[in-house]
Each structure stands twice: as structure tokens, then as C-alpha cells.
């Protein structure tokens, strides 16, 4: 919110100007592995992406790591679920019958060039989604006119209430920093029972997919810090920029590691907006 004000103020009152510049930036001595692992109850989402960081101005595609040894261990049984690299998806995948089970803790293991990275996550029970409805709304402050979607459901949990909603419109993920819809129980969860409105004005015939994740606190913190960083404009009103705190640890080797391991149930709905 503060950003809205600062930019409003600066743009209204003062001759603030912008231009693109080229800065002489430092470079890392070595590239840092970036691990992004999803382990859910739907096989389509289950994958591990491993890549390397690059210099800031490099506009080449990310460099993928294809030769890592990847598995997820089910902690209660000690069973290892192996992943292997698939060029088609440019990620590591496992057998589609393998899925996360509620109540189970899973450990991600990635070994690459003698370095071992590990992370853990608990598969939580999903909340209940009763219905998804949409209504036409006239133009409001901060909202354009259009069809607005509301999600109705119930969250019966007293702890581990960390959620993320992703919105995909006509196969395009809403993916700008302002599109991160993350919520916890700071302001209660009644909002979910009384209808959680998504902040997008959709048009008729838009095909919308909604995905609701119940994530662990470390992933919620990671994503919150990621959003803060994406909003950080480097000005006086922003805190010093910091990398989001990864929930992946380096257990062998002296490399750094970036990214996160999410274990979550996924509830998804697809709808096509039509006038009623």
C-alpha cells in the first residue's frame, strides 16, 4: 500500500523521471544451484526443476542441471521415490502413480557434483471449497469493471494456516508481483466462508483455473519474502534487498542453494465466465 502512495505522490507532484541505465555489476565467482520442487497430491504438479543462476545482464535461457540425482523420501516408511530428468518438461519427474499423502513428512534429496541438498515438508490436509461464483461489478476504487470471482469454502484448521491461490486465465498464469495471493490467519479465516474475492476483472468467456495450495510456514515465508523482493525498488522506502530464505539446506559441499521445496495439497477448479 505504501508504494501506491509514494508513487502517486511522486508522480503527481514532482517531476520524477526514469531512464534505463547500465551499471557495472559484480558477478558471483560461481553459479548457484536453484532448486524448485513441488510435491503434491496431483501428479501433474509433481516435479523438481534444477537450474543455475546467471549474471544479471545475461539474457540467455537459464542453464539447466540435467545430471543431478533426485529423490523424495517418505519419512515414516523410509521409502525413496526416485525422480529422473525428462527433456520434454525440462524437469525431474517421477512415476505418475506416486503422490503426496496427507499427514506424511517428505524429504527432498538432491545430489549434484558431490554436493547434497535437503529439505523437508509436511503434507497437510486441504481445506474445503464449496463453490466458486462470479458476479458482474461496476467500476470501483482499485477495481475495473468486469466479472469478479468469489471462492466460498471452509478452513476448519486451528494451525498451519498458510495458503496460496494461483489464477490461470486462458492458459496464462497471473504472474506479476501483484498477482501473488498469499494469506494466513492473521485476520481470521472467515473471509473464506463469506467469499474470498479475487482481484481480477474477467470478461465473458474467459476460461479461469484456480489452484489453492495449503503450504508449510517456511514456504509461505519464502514466497512472502520473494514478493517483497520483487516489489523492492531499491529506493529509500524499501528495506535493503535480501534473497528469500530458502527452506533447502546444503548438507554436503560449500555451495549456496536457492529456491524452495513445497509439499502441498492442490485444490483446483476450472470455470468459464458466462453472463447468468
Amino acid at each position: 500500500m505504501k508504494k501506491i502512495w509514494i508513487f502517486l505522490l511522486l508522480s503527481l507532484l514532482f517531476s520524477s523521471c526514469q531512464e534505463e541505465v547500465v551499471l557495472d555489476l559484480d558477478q558471483k565467482d560461481s553459479r548457484v544451484p536453484v532448486i524448485e520442487a513441488h510435491w503434491t497430491d496431483q501428479s501433474v504438479y509433481n516435479e523438481v526443476k534444477i537450474s543455475l543462476s546467471k549474471n544479471y545482464y545475461d539474457s540467455l535461457d537459464q542453464e539447466l542441471i540435467r545430471d543431478a540425482d533426485v529423490f523424495i523420501k517418505e519419512q515414516s516408511t523410509g521409502r525413496k521415490i526416485a525422480f529422473r530428468y525428462l527433456e520434454a518438461t525440462r524437469s525431474y519427474r517421477t512415476n505418475p502413480t506416486e503422490r503426496a499423502r496427507v499427514g506424511e513428512t517428505y524429504q527432498l534429496n538432491v545430489t549434484w557434483k558431490g554436493q547434497v541438498f535437503q529439505s523437508e515438508g509436511l503434507m497437510l490436509e486441504p481445506p474445503i471449497v464449496d463453490s466458486v461464483v462470479w458476479n458482474y461489478e461496476e467500476k470501483r476504487l482499485f477495481r475495473d469493471e468486469g466479472y469478479f470471482v468469489k471462492v466460498y469454502g471452509k478452513i476448519p484448521f486451528t494451525e498451519n494456516n498458510y495458503y496460496r491461490i494461483r489464477v490461470i486465465e486462458n492458459d496464462t498464469l497471473y504472474n506479476q508481483p501483484e498477482d501473488y495471493l498469499l494469506f494466513d490467519d492473521t485476520f481470521g479465516l472467515q473471509v473464506f466462508e463469506k467469499g474470498l474475492e479475487l482481484g481480477y476483472a474477467f470478461q465473458e468467456n474467459d476460461r479461469i483455473r484456480l489452484e489453492l495450495y495449503r503450504i508449510n510456514k517456511d514456504v509461505f515465508d519464502y514466497l512472502s519474502q520473494l514478493v517483497n523482493l520483487l516489489f523492492n525498488d531499491g529506493g529509500l522506502f524499501s528495506p535493503p534487498p535480501q534473497n528469500p530464505k530458502s527452506n533447502i539446506k546444503v548438507v554436503k559441499g560449500n555451495s549456496q542453494v536457492l529456491g524452495f521445496f513445497v509439499v502441498s495439497p492442490v485444490l483446483s477448479r476450472t470455470l468459464v465466465i458466462s453472463s447468468k
Binding site: W5, L10, F14, L25, L141, F142, P177, T186
Partner: protein
């Protein structure tokens, strides 16, 4: 020998002077302008033939000078006034003598820019103190033509700005919340308008400002780095007068005059911006309905109750309102009031009593049935301070007193609108009480050596009602839930701290115009802002010391040489300092502070240190006046959990800093001013790479904080003032034309590391089809060649 014993020893040593004189040996007087009866500050007073042993009048126009063999001639001299000579008899020592000085005709040769004695900086005991007179302040070129007190203080050595367009001050390596900004003795918690672009002080209502860069007398305290002591003007006593100005973005009006006869006066001063009046002219209905303004209103009434007692009541109120379409708004407000009573018990004994209340509040409101909310917060400080001054001997003055402070930080309260399903969120309020006792002794040992020893003892308690959470391993940490909580009833002591704050200063006069000074100073600070951005926001969360947040402790040692030459026309000073800060705080990554009752889990604490050298060459008299200041300084922080626990520079660490200020009087009608500033760029973190995660290109940062620099900052401002030289007319007007950033230097405000789409820096994926995307750096700069015009008047 322990430190406390050493202090006791020094105190005894200082007091152990020859027996106190029993008879009255001091001449006491008050000096006023014969025309308007305003008291005159800084008038030189000396006995004939003893010019070197003189004194000067204080803020209330009073002076005290040891008597010589009487009868003798006392001489009062003041620039711009005719010299006054009077023969003093022994009986004159019995009561306060009044002196009235007549103003000289306007003289081009001597333009006074400072209300102080010519050789004051060499003779006094002050180190790290700067005084800015309103004449100087008002002559400086200003952003948008708005004369700004805090921004002008940034031109003094040892005072840094965090960046373009901000009035936050960083004094000798301290953070912005380590400055105590006070108006007539009452603290101001948020001294900024428009997110810090302007400060809250309407220059017309101010008499003067003193800046103590860490080395403050024992009667002041409470902040680790500096004291910015603003004195409001008192009204004229002879007739109603007015003055004001019409500027580019605001207008000002001040009225003053006698209140209840000749013994009392009032002054009321207001300022309001009218940016939103221009918005109303916009054809865009969204802009048209927006609000964007601030105002300041301050007043002071002063009463001379009798020959001994003087009472003044002052109040300041200021507010910012930013509104969108009448539905969404953010506002914040300061309201500060103070009552001061000064009593002259006898020629050598004075008493001052002060009571004040300062309240700061903000509100964020969204008027909407389903998503609306009303978020409010306020904090206040109330205080009472009594101080006694006793001239024990001609060369020894003792000041002692007590200062009680009560802090009340109301709950931060977010109330949703009736149909908004979110829960109301309310933090718990916190209270604190701070009692201080202080004693200060100033003694002139010999003609060359004088010293000051001060002690200030603070006792602080955080008071209930309130809840304190307990954490496993006594480690407040966002990743673990509290293990327990303890509830305290109303007025229960939840946590107690105390600290002794010694203040020591010595001055040795090597030659009459050349002195050496040494000072040591300790301060404790029991209240601070939990924030890690460099510029203050109106919704910043102030936190009191408590079980997990310890008070900040600062120790500063400074050494200076002071030299005046060419009959005090030029002042030169070189000061060096080293400052140590303990228990400074910073925030964890992603800290959520504003509506949390467990702020301690989001904080990290550590130490800081700063050192530097400040050079100042100043010319006070003549057609051309001004100063050249150069500061070399460094500031460091070391906090576990930040920058891999290694020392890092805060953003405001800017090693080289130059300010040049020049004023020139061409003729009675024309004058001009020029300021040039240069400083090393801010210490910041630039990315060392990038990576893709969650479908986002993300800049990759080093683990070490602020290892990069913005480019050097520099800027030249100029202004020209024309005033009607006809002094006889009742209405006197003047025009001021100014240009900020004359040569249009693009000083960066920020560098944003973001994806540039379609090779257009402002193109967003929601604007349409994306043809290309690449990493880029977008620089924002604020003010280049910004002209302004102001019309000022007096009647």
C-alpha cells in the same frame, strides 16, 4: 578506580573552589530592543577595559557578569545596534538592570547572519554544536522555494541525508530515530510532511535552532545521536505585525503583537500547501477528487508576570492528508504543546519549569462496505522538567534538576467495515515511564581552562497492563511459537532499566582566538523505530524498551580545535569524533511489524560505531557570508543475522561530504545565495546475478549488505532575492527566485532491477503483447532544474 568513583572525584575537584562568596558579586541584566521591546540574544556585555572577560545575553536576553570594582562602566555591544555604556554602582547589583539598545541605521557593510557573540565558538565549551539562525535559513535556496529547517541542517558538517528529497537526518553515524527533535522543549515524533520531502517546521514561527551532535548538556537526553532544539518565536510587544509568503506550493501567514498590554505577546503562524487545488483543475476525474495537502499551525503566548517570572505557552499542530476519490485516505498528525515558566529567584539563582505533551497519530481508511477498514494508531509523550541554575561563584555555575517522561503507545487498531469478513486486529498498548535526575557544573579554572561535568541518571520502567510472551530458550524467533505468556496488571513494572549518563567537556584557550576542546558523552535511548528502510514512513512502528528490546547506549568522544581570525570575521573549526552504539536494532528478512504483538521475534540487535572528522570554515560578517564544510566519516553496524554477522555500512554511510553555502548582498535591494553539495553515493546492494524461480526472474543478491555505491551525489542551487529598499513603507515585500539543481544533475533516487519488456521501461505485460523481455536497470531521479518563486511580505 571505577568509573563512578572517577566521576565523583572529578565532581569534588570541580566544586572544591575557594570559599563561596557570601555577598552578591554578580551584575544581572536584561537587554531589549528599544524599538520593539523584543529581548536581544547574544549581546556582548563586558566591563570597560576588560573586553576579554565578557559574557553574552541568553535566550531570554538575560546576562550575568561577575562584578568588578564598582563603580565601573558596563558596555553592551551588539551588531546592528548602537553601543550602550552605563555606570554601575554597588546598589545596582541588588536587582535586575534593564538595558534598551537602539538599532543602528541599516548598514551595508555589516550584514549579521548569526545571533551570537563573535568569539563564542572559541570561548564556549561546546563541541559538536551548530546554531542556524533564521536569517541564514531563509536566505538559502530551497526546494520548491519552501525554506526547510531539517534540510538546511543537512548542510552542516557531520549531518547526512539518506538521499534526494528527504529531510531525515543522520548525525555522526546515528539513525534518523536517534535524533530528538523538540519544539520549545517538547518532542516531535514525526517531523516530516509528504513522506519526508518537507519537515514540519514553518520557518516563520521559529526563532532559532540548535543542533547538538551528540555532545549535549546533562539537562537534555533521551536519544543516542543528537538533539535538534527548535525555539519558537515570541511575538512583538509593541504593535500588531504580520508577515507571510506566497510560494510555489504553499502559503504562509504570521501575526504577532501585544496580548494583554505591554507585558505579554502572542504569535500565531500558519502554513498550508495547495497541491490539491491544482488537482481540482485536472480534467481527469480520478485526479480531481484526490486530496493532497498538509498544514502547520503554531502559536506562542508569552507573559512577563513580574520582574521575576515569565511564562510562555506554545503549541504546534500539523497534519498531512492524502485522499483518493474521497474513499481511501491516509493522514497523520502531530500535536505538541508546552508550557514554560522561568523564574529569577535572585541575581544568581534561576528556576525553570516545563510541562509538555506531544501526540502523534495516523489513520489509514478505506471506505468500502465489503473490503473497507479503518486503521488508527497514536502515541504520546508527556513530560515535566524542573531545573535550577545557581551561580556559585563568578566562575562556577551549577545546574540541576529532574525530568519525568510518560510514554503511552496506544494499540494499533485495524477495524474492518461491518461487512468485511476479516477479523479486527488490535495490538496491545504499551506504557513506559522514564525519570531522569541531572546535575551539571561549569567552572572556569583559569582564564585558559574551563570545564563542564554533567551527570544524568535515568530510571526507566515499562509498565503494564500488558502481556509478555516467553520463548523456548529465551530466543524470540518467528519460527517458534511462544511457550508461555505472562500478564501484568495496570501499572505493574514489566521491565526496568537504568543508566548513568556522564557528560564531560573541557576547553583550553591556547590563544585568545584559538582553543582546544575535548568532550565525552554517554546517552541512553529507551524508545526507537522498528524499521529498516532509510526514510521514515508515517506508519513506522515506535517501540519501547522492554524485556527483549534493550535501550540503545551511545558513547561519544570528540576533540576539536577552534580558531577565529580577522576580528572574528572568520571561524575555523576541526572536530574529530568516535561514537560507539550498543543495542541498535534491525529487522529480519520479511519482518511483519505493524500489527504484531510479538515485535521481538522480528528484530535483531547488535552494535554500531562511527568516526569522522569535520572541517568548517565560516564567514559571518561582510557583504559575503557563508561557510564551507567538509566531513570525512564512516558509519558501521554489526548485527548477528545480517550480512553474515560481519560489519556493514548503513545506507547513509557517505564518507566524503562537502557543503558550500554563500550569501552575497549586492545592494540594499538585491542579494543572492548559492549552495553546492557533494557527497559519496549511498551504500546499497546491487544484484550479483539473477535466477528463475516460481516463473519469476529474480535478482540474486550477495549475502553481504550494502557493498555497492550509488554514483556520487552533487547539486548546485541558487536564489536571488529582491526586496523593496524603501524601509519607510508599512508594507514591505520581497521576491525570491530560486533554482534547485541548477545544472540538472540526474542524482539517482533509486535503481530498480526489473525486466524490461519490448524495450520500453514502462511497458507492462498487462499492456498487451510481449515481443521481448530482458533484464534491465531503471533509474529514478527526482528533481532536475526545478525553479521556484516566492513572494514574502511584512506589514
Amino acid at each position: 578506580m571505577s568509573f563512578h568513583r572517577l566521576l565523583l572525584f572529578l565532581l569534588l575537584f570541580l566544586i572544591a573552589s575557594p570559599a563561596f562568596p557570601q555577598e552578591k558579586l554578580v551584575l544581572r541584566g536584561q537587554v531589549m530592543d528599544a524599538g520593539n521591546l523584543q529581548v536581544l540574544v547574544g549581546v556582548n556585555v563586558y566591563w570597560e577595559g576588560k573586553e576579554q572577560q565578557g559574557t553574552a545575553t541568553d535566550l531570554d536576553g538575560y546576562f550575568y557578569i561577575p562584578a568588578t570594582t564598582l563603580p565601573a562602566k558596563i558596555i553592551l555591544s551588539y551588531l546592528g545596534y548602537e553601543k550602550s555604556i552605563r555606570i554601575i554602582q554597588v546598589r545596582d547589583l541588588e536587582k535586575v538592570q534593564r538595558f534598551y539598545l537602539k538599532a543602528e541605521d541599516f548598514s551595508l557593510e555589516e550584514v549579521l547572519i548569526q545571533e551570537k557573540r563573535g568569539d563564542e565558538q572559541v570561548k564556549n565549551l561546546e563541541l559538536g554544536k551548530s546554531t542556524l539562525s533564521m536569517e541564514t535559513l531563509q536566505s538559502l535556496p530551497a526546494l520548491f522555494g519552501e525554506v526547510d529547517l531539517l534540510r538546511s541542517l543537512q548542510l552542516l558538517p557531520g549531518v547526512k541525508s539518506a538521499g534526494e528529497g528527504t529531510t531525515g537526518l543522520f548525525v555522526r553515524g546515528g539513525s534518523a530515530d536517534q535524533n530528538l527533535v523538540q519544539v520549545d522543549g517538547a518532542p516531535v515524533y514525526n517531523a516530516s510532511h509528504f513522506f519526508g520531502i518537507f519537515s514540519v517546521f514553518n520557518p516563520d514561527g521559529i526563532k532559532k535552532v540548535d543542533l547538538y551532535k551528540g555532545n549535549m548538556p546533562a539537562s537534555f537526553g533521551g536519544r543516542a545521536s543528537s538533539l535538534i532544539d527548535v525555539t519558537l518565536r515570541e511575538g512583538e510587544k509593541d504593535r500588531i505585525q504580520g508577515e507571510g509568503g506566497i510560494g510555489t506550493i504553499s502559503s504562509r501567514l504570521t501575526l504577532q503583537g501585544p496580548l494583554l498590554g505591554k507585558n505579554s505577546s502572542f504569535l500565531i503562524s500558519g502554513r498550508r500547501t495547495y497541491a490539491d487545488l491544482f488537482l481540482k483543475l485536472s480534467s481527469n476525474p480520478d485526479l480531481k477528487n484526490n486530496q493532497l495537502n498538509f498544514y502547520d499551525l503554531n502559536g506562542k503566548a508569552a507573559f512577563s508576570l513580574n520582574e521575576k517570572d515569565k511564562l510562555s505557552v506554545s503549541s504546534y499542530q500539523g497534519s498531512d492528508i492524502l485522499g483518493l476519490s474521497g474513499q481511501f485516505g491516509l493522514g497523520w498528525k502531530n500535536w505538541v504543546s508546552a508550557v514554560n515558566w522561568n523564574r529569577v529567584n535572585s541575581d544568581s539563582s534561576f528556576f525553570d519549569l516545563q510541562a509538555y505533551h506531544s501526540r502523534y497519530s495516523y489513520q489509514v481508511k478505506f471506505d468500502n462496505d465489503e473490503n473497507g477498514f479503518d486503521w488508527t494508531n497514536s502515541l504520546s509523550e508527556s513530560g515535566i522538567k524542573a531545573s535550577w541554575t545557581r551561580v556559585l561563584a563568578p566562575s562556577t555555575t551549577l545546574v540541576w534538576g529532574a525530568h519525568g517522561q510518560l510514554y503511552h503507545f496506544a494499540p494499533s487498531d485495524l477495524k474492518p467495515s461491518p461487512n468485511n469478513p476479516i477479523n479486527r486486529r488490535q495490538t496491545q498498548g504499551v506504557q513506559g515511564v522514564l525519570g531522569n535526575a541531572f546535575v551539571g557544573l561549569t567552572r572556569e579554572f583559569t582564564e585558559k581552562l574551563s570545564g563542564e561535568l554533567g551527570l544524568r541518571q535515568g530510571v526507566y520502567a515499562q509498565l503494564g497492563a500488558g502481556k509478555v510472551y516467553q520463548y523456548p530458550g529465551n530466543d524470540p524467533n518467528p519460527d517458534q511459537e511462544p511457550s508461555d505468556s505472562v500478564f501484568y496488571n495496570s501499572a505493574d513494572v514489566m521491565q526496568r532499566y537504568q543508566g548513568l549518563e556522564p557528560r564531560i567537556a573541557f576547553r583550553y584557550l591556547l590563544r585568545p582566538e584559538f582553543s582546544l576542546k575535548l568532550a565525552y558523552n554517554r546517552n541512553f535511548q529507551y524508545v526507537q523505530i522498528a524499521s529498516n528502510s532509510s526514510a521514515g514512513l508515517p506508519i513506522d512502528r515506535w517501540v519501547l524498551a522492554g524485556q527483549y528490546i534493550r535501550p540503545i547506549k551511545s558513547d561519544q568522544i570528540s576533540l576539536g580545535v577552534f580558531h577565529n581570525f580577522d576580528q572574528n570575521r572568520w571561524e575555523l573549526s576541526v572536530e574529530g569524533y568516535y561514537k560507539d552504539l550498543d543495542q541498535v536494532i534491525d529487522l529480519r528478512n520479511g519482518a511483519r511489524i505493524l500489527l504484531s504483538d510479538q515485535v521481538e521475534t522480528e528484530l535483531l540487535s547488535g552494535r554500531g560505531w562511527a568516526y569522522g572528522a569535520e572541517f568548517l570554515l565560516r564567514k559571518n560578517k561582510g557583504k559575503t557570508t557563508g561557510w564551507l564544510a567538509y566531513t570525512w566519516s564512516r558509519a558501521w553496524r554489526q548485527i548477528d543475522g545480517i550480512s553474515k554477522d560481519r560489519p556493514y555500512n548503513p545506507r547513509f554511510d557517505r564518507p566524503h561530504d562537502v557543503s558550500l553555502v554563500l550569501n552575497h548582498q549586492f545592494s540594499p535591494a538585491w542579494s543572492s545565495s548559492l549552495t553546492f553539495v557533494y557527497s559519496t553515493g549511498q551504500a546499497v546492494s546491487f544484484p550479483v546475478g539473477s535466477y528463475l524461480v516460481d516463473n519469476q526472474p529474480v535478482p540474486l543478491y550477495s549475502d553481504y549488505r550494502n557493498e555497492n555505491r550509488f554514483p556520487d551525489y552533487h547539486r548546485l542551487d541558487a536564489s536571488v532575492t529582491w526586496k523593496n529598499p524603501d524601509q519607510g513603507r508599512k508594507w514591505k515585500g520581497s521576491w525570491n527566485f530560486g533554482v534547485y539543481n541548477l545544472y540538472g544533475r540526474k542524482n539517482p533516487f533509486s535503481y530498480d532491477f526489473r525486466t524490461v519488456y519490448n524495450n520500453q521501461i514502462n511497458y507492462s505485460p498487462s499492456d498487451g503483447k510481449i515481443v521481448s523481455a530482458r533484464p534491465g536497470v531503471v533509474m529514478t531521479y527526482l528533481f532536475t532544474f526545478l525553479p521556484s518563486i516566492t513572494y514574502n511580505f511584512q506589514f
